[in-house]
Symmetry: C2
């Protein structure tokens, strides 16, 4: 595993005023861009949008009117530093991307049954970034559509049905993908794991079953998790079942910003392929250079059979893609029916996707992400030395997780504190959220234009919050628990919360409800 080495630059960050929050643009007043007041918006939304479609900060959600670079602006034109919207990859509303879309929209916006250069130019460019056999594209509209198609490709190629998926994984919102997304189906009341789905442990070197405490090296961890999959395959065979595919994110996002242990994929791919299955790398969240390489699977020195990509691909525009080998594509063609996706591969989506690639190249965003990410990791490591709440810092490039624990030895997840920290960040106009089974991992996945000044701002505020938490912890004068502060929020669908029975003895009980100056106690991670 060749993660870029961190440098040792020192930064000073004494006061948030040093941070350059981007100034509002001289455009029409945001007030003018509202069609109604925020309360009216909320009222209509409550009436006409399904309650399963949740808001960030449910009790006091943000109305976002405009965005630029790494900032989002509310209806009063307050700027929020965006640390979580990985879709706005090259920055919110990048002018080159907007121009590409605008120009193409005026010409033609139709389906892929007609030839168009945008499609083939992109297909060539994107497959040129892949190891050789990965040369055939299918353009779709979302990461979910991409993963669903990947499953169809795997099944038609192998003639098998079963899928091995990683515990804690999320691969999309469609029927078949919910079935292979333990993060989802394990929460659905009455839902059971399908027989064709096989779960393997989350290969987390910090909290996983095999970790740096009970293994000697990352390589040993990678080997042990590989052996687990070998056993899963054996068990499936014993039941007369056959494996179609192993699907994995190349770094685990919703599962808690987890980097895979050394040689993990190499070991797993070997076992899966020996069993006649194919390997699907889901790069929907981690692709396009976020991690310092164009594709996160490159860190594992493997070549997947199928790669899916989405979110950053269109910088907000609905486009996604599946890339596979000619052999698998031929198998899919042989099933005897065409694949048609009405909007998939339309000239506008591909004008946008081409522009995003241009910006990544021209602005050298991959190198930039590594540089800024290294600074962030370095500063976080310094905080970790000072604050025992930080159990683990992990990441590469602008894919970073901060795992919070009440006790470093027991690794008891500090779920409520994580929520508190997110709420405090919001007060400071920084957008953050959590990931992981226990919702105790702060995720950092900002637009790639996030800069060193933003790191300073982030670190300054985080330390301020950590100091306050320490103070509250030390004072131990108040009796009510943070739990009660959060229990007032009735959402049942907080993506980040697992089933860990939180702290009877932890730090969390020492943070009183009134230390929350905001009512933003509900956050969503996904």
């Amino acid at each position: 595993m060749e993660y870029p080495s961190t440098t040792t630059t020192t930064i000073s960050c004494h006061h948030p005023n040093i941070v350059d929050i981007q100034k509002p643009l001289p455009i029409t007043s945001p007030m003018m861009m509202e069609k109604m007041s925020k309360s009216e918006t909320i009222e209509l939304r409550n009436k006409h949008v399904g309650p399963s479609v949740t808001l960030f900060f449910k009790k006091n959600p943000l109305k976002i009117i405009r965005g630029k670079g790494q900032y989002m602006y509310d209806e009063k034109d307050n700027a929020y530093l965006d640390c979580i919207n990985n879709v706005a990859h090259v920055g919110h509303c990048h002018p080159a991307v907007v121009k590409a879309a605008t120009d193409q929209m005026q010409l033609i916006y139709t389906n892929s049954r007609f030839l168009h250069d945008n499609l083939v130019v992109y297909a060539k460019r994107i497959t040129d970034t892949m190891p050789k056999p990965l040369s055939v594209c299918y353009f779709v509209n979302s990461g979910s559509e991409a993963n669903d198609l990947a499953i169809r490709l795997a099944r038609s190629h192998t003639k098998n049905k079963d899928i091995i998926t990683i515990d804690g994984a999320y691969h999309g919102h469609l029927t078949t993908l919910i079935d292979i997304s333990p993060m989802k189906f394990l929460k659905i009341k009455g839902a059971k794991k399908k027989k064709w789905v096989h779960l393997t442990s989350l290969p987390c070197s910090y909290r996983g079953k095999y970790n740096l405490d009970n293994c000697e090296s990352s390589s040993e961890i990678g080997q042990r998790y590989g052996e687990e999959i070998k056993q899963i395959i054996q068990d499936a065979h014993d039941q007369g079942r056959q494996i179609a595919a192993f699907i994995h994110e190349s770094m685990i996002s919703c599962g808690g910003q987890v980097l895979l242990p050394e040689n993990y994929l190499k070991n797993v791919y070997k076992h899966v392929r020996e069993a006649g299955g194919v390997c699907i790398a889901d790069e929907v969240q981690v692709g396009f250079g976020r991690t310092g390489k164009m594709w996160a699977f490159e860190y594992q020195n493997v070549v997947p059979d199928i790669v899916t990509m989405g979110k950053p691909m269109g910088n907000g525009h609905p486009i996604a893609c599946v890339i596979t080998t000619p052999e698998i594509a031929e198998s899919f063609a042989r099933i005897g029916t065409e694949y048609f996706n009405t909007y998939g591969g339309n000239p506008v989506s591909l004008a946008v996707a081409n522009a995003v690639l241009d910006v990544i190249e021209q602005e050298k965003l991959i190198d930039h992400g590594i540089q800024v990410g290294n600074l962030m990791l370095e500063e976080l490591e310094k905080l970790k030395k000072k604050y025992s709440l930080i159990g683990d810092i992990r990441g590469v490039g602008l894919f970073i997780g901060i795992e919070l624990v009440n006790n470093r030895r027991t690794k008891e997840p500090a779920t409520l504190i994580a929520e508190y920290i997110v709420a405090r960040f919001k007060e400071n106009r920084i957008l953050m959220s959590t990931e992981g089974k226990f919702g105790n991992v702060l995720k950092i996945k900002p637009p790639m234009v996030f800069n060193e000044s933003n790191v300073k701002q982030f670190i300054f505020i985080l330390e301020e919050i950590l100091q306050d938490i320490n103070y509250m912890h030390q004072s131990r004068t108040r009796s009510s628990s943070l739990s009660s502060a959060y229990s007032s929020d009735s959402i049942s669908i907080n993506g980040g919360n697992g089933n860990y029975n939180n702290g009877q003895n932890g730090v969390e009980n020492n943070i009183s409800s009134d230390s929350l100056s905001d009512e933003d106690s509900s956050i969503i991670s996904e």
Copy 2:
């Protein structure tokens, strides 16, 4: 059923020169808009796009550079009259829609976890077009995503799994939707109908099991097909299975441009609801006023439990929607996990969707469609009187089918002739394609700005082709069959072809291969 009555306007159409083909715009030369030659585009496409993703006119596909209104233009700026692209609902590249997208793209393009007025304004507007209980929206990116979510909603509400679907139906390209799309899964080698899928006959009053030959009225046909579903439900119950939903297009598109018989949905809904199931109206192809009413289900005087919509909704932009009742939405929320769709409901998609509604209203496109559609139907009826090849003319508004038969008594499908006609239309720069199990139904589903002049042009060319076919039929001097003309095209995935063993005795054998002046023998319908 209250289809709008046809008027008896007479038009004269003696020569195509009277037809006003829209002139090229004074924009950059189309040549300049090509990044490479057509042959290079094809070469790259063959290399980098999955072979299951097929082109119209596979042997000599069109490279479309721009579109305007009901016209598409190739790389030489030849204009093609578009009779089939129902996605470009208010006309290709409508300036108001382009402007709405452009304006919003410059402001913000993010997810629905932040409040935005575009979303709630649209949710109110679109639910205002629905019968009252249908008031809750879920925004997604494609008709496929919408239908998949509809299935999830139905299952979570009813706690049942099974789906009743119509033979010949197509509901999308996702794993679960292929399973309920007989048009697809019946063609997949080795694929079997899943146990949870129940097929009911295509309720076609012309060719169906119950039809105007063996029933006394449309109402009787509707009743008999309803009874079939009652029996299907009984059989499912006997096997210990329970119905989650009946899914149907409100007029059947890919199945062959079929209008439902009178009271069909009323009868079916009754049986399905008595069995504890819900009813899903798929309006992805037929919604937004194409048929003369905003929603095609309105013709059947029913209120579905779930409605899905897509294609025309964004005039090419990837957006779709599911609308349901508060009760079903609540059931879905109660399963215990959120529904998040990264791009679904983003402000740009909804700016586009709002603009499409504006144009439909401002340009009175629903009334316009009825008027133009009536003229088309009337002219087609005249041709039907003259040409026995036309077995059936059916439709309403700009949703029209022309079913071709070699023999009006046996209704033997004239599949190859349909393909020949489509190829001849292309020579005349008119885009047409076929639908139906036998690929013998010419479909007319143009952008709604299609006008009376376009009808004249279409009818003039169609009659010219029909005359030629008659001439060839009468001459009977040539021996080779049309079959051989088409057999040279090796595509295995011609969506329109069924398994009917074509004409040993029909007209088709009398059309010689060299009567095809173009090699465009393969067309795709979906």
